[in-house]
Symmetry: C2
Subunit: 350 residues, 2 copies
């Protein structure tokens, strides 16, 4: 494409040194004298030389590429994660190779990643076949599952404490006096949904209630809207709805307010999960459970970089604390209860 193929040889010639000297100049920790280093750098600058990462990758076996798999980017949680992840990895000298998964071509996806010789893999999506996760883990490349986990796999995972998150919501709603509490699930086979729901229903039970009704939104906006409609069909609807993530909660809010003409929270309390930026916007003021996105990213990068540098794959499981963010989409319990809920959630790491 361009004639700008300046090689280390060219630089060597201009600097009157060997190609090795050039290579060493650009290899941190290699043995070069200050004088030759400077001559090389001068020559490199003059020619506009930049080491070819691909060639380097062939020799060293390290491409500095991290594959990031994502299923969709319309739920704002993921773009933000992607941005931070990318920034952080860049700072560590890695670049993100983006893979958008399709339900159809998941096998090809793994092949592609391997073809690009990626050094590590981050699977960032609650919904993604565990087959895909398994295939990735089998490659022997460090894999971090972000916001999901698969127990039997040699892949690390970073999640937040979804179980506790679900519990907190149950307590909030029950203590606020709700008696017809419904839940809109995300993808049923996702670990995030399972844990949030498990914590939620367990705590409901502990407080002497049962789930009044249940819908399935599949983590999609439209799915959640439909689930909300179904939930309210019939003579009497729920007086509180816990939705498995914020993205779906917005859809539920729209149905509740605009289609059903009900008020939030006077007629119905609504609680989401994630605390994406929109949850704080005036149009929704969504009470929700905050996933500590930044910490999750930090942990992900830490795990990944550690394994890359040590060249050893070790399974880590990080579970970061999550906590309630009280806004005004849900009726409030008495002040004392509220105080006990709004504190930071529980933590845990193994």
């Amino acid at each position: 494409m361009a004639k700008d193929t300046v090689t280390s040889e060219d630089v060597a010639k201009l600097a009157n040194v060997s190609q090795s000297a050039v290579s060493r100049t650009f290899t941190p920790g290699a043995s070069v004298s200050e004088t030759t280093r400077e001559r090389v750098l001068a020559a490199a600058r003059e020619l506009g030389y930049r080491p070819n990462v691909l060639a380097r990758a062939m020799i060293s076996g390290r491409s500095q590429l991290i594959a990031v798999l994502v299923a969709y980017l319309d739920n704002q949680f993921y773009p933000i994660v992607l941005e931070q992840l990318s920034r952080s990895l860049q700072q560590h000298g890695y670049q993100v190779l983006l893979f958008m998964t399709d339900p159809g071509n998941q096998d090809q996806m793994v092949q592609k990643m391997l073809q690009y010789q990626v050094d590590g893999i981050v699977m960032a999506s609650a919904t993604m076949s565990s087959t895909l996760a398994r295939e990735c883990a089998q490659t022997g490349i460090p894999v971090v599952l972000f916001n999901r986990y698969v127990p039997a796999l040699p892949a690390s995972s970073v999640t937040s404490d979804n179980l506790t998150g679900g519990q907190l919501v149950a307590r909030l709603l029950v203590k606020a006096g709700h008696r017809r509490i419904a839940f809109i699930a995300g993808a049923e086979n996702s670990s995030t949904n399972r844990d949030r729901e498990a914590g939620f229903t367990a705590e409901l039970a502990a407080l002497g209630q049962r789930l009044w009704r249940r819908g399935i939104g599949g983590y999609t906006f439209e799915g959640a809207a439909q689930a909300a409609r179904d939930l309210f069909a019939g003579d009497v609807g729920p007086d509180a709805v816990f939705v498995a993530n914020d993205h779906m909660a917005f859809a539920a809010a729209d149905v509740i307010r605009d289609e059903l003409g009900l008020r939030i929270p006077q007629d119905v309390s609504l609680v989401g999960y994630d605390d994406v930026p929109e949850a704080g916007w005036g149009g929704y003021k969504l009470t929700t459970v905050k996933q500590p996105g930044e910490q999750m990213i930090e942990e992900t990068v830490r795990i990944l970089v550690e394994q890359l540098e040590s060249r050893k794959v070790v399974k880590h499981e990080a579970i970061l604390p999550s906590h309630l963010v009280i806004r005004s989409s849900a009726r409030l319990p008495d002040a004392e209860t509220l105080a006990s809920l709004a504190g930071p959630g529980t933590a845990g790491t193994s």
Copy 2:
């Protein structure tokens, strides 16, 4: 990392052919007989062989990597673009190498891209120093500026008709009877903002009005909120606000409704730009100008792929039509005017 270094040589040995034969089997359009192709494929399958893209890239000079530069992902317009762009490029056999730009390290960015030998570059962000754009263009690699343009550069660009978009909004607001019309600008040095504002003020002038007041939001949520506050400071505020993009318009809406206690559109009309998904949500119902994101992506990929395949860099400038999306955040003009505005916008390509 893994012992899975299956090379074409290994496959060749197992299949009793030369390494060349293996290579040719995996090179579309190369000369191999059906029999050897099958033997090679069988052996490859048995060993789990996958061609090493990096090695291939060294020889062929094509990495199949497309650098996508993005400045931020919190404005929903970009994640969606990124998702579609990535999907589309994947289908064409390319992968997206993601670069998050930092105001600080823009020079490094170009170096990094070149080091990875990317085949093409998409700069997807309204705000990004034109120096960066210039550097990219100078590399001789095909560059497409997405949603922005820089006249003097040999870089292609894909935008929507921001000039006409601005005009439409002006006409809408004036015909609806507004007399104190304000504008909240994005980044002042961005072509999107310039064009939207130019079209807007030109049309205002044509209709006998002047901009009543102007603020600057810098395409950030917080910046726009502050701009909105400033706009309404004083005895009398604007009766209509055009905001340079939806993302900022949401911030303005929050300020107008929650902080100032005004109603939209009864007290103030609000119009955004982009038509991101949230604009259609019940919490905002934002009247806005739709940028044809999908078409813009299609065009971007078309331009890019064409140049990659022909190995020639030719400057293309695509300007796709945009049109008003009427929701309920802005007061409506009479039906006849409305009909004349709501039609599809104008188009143009060069």
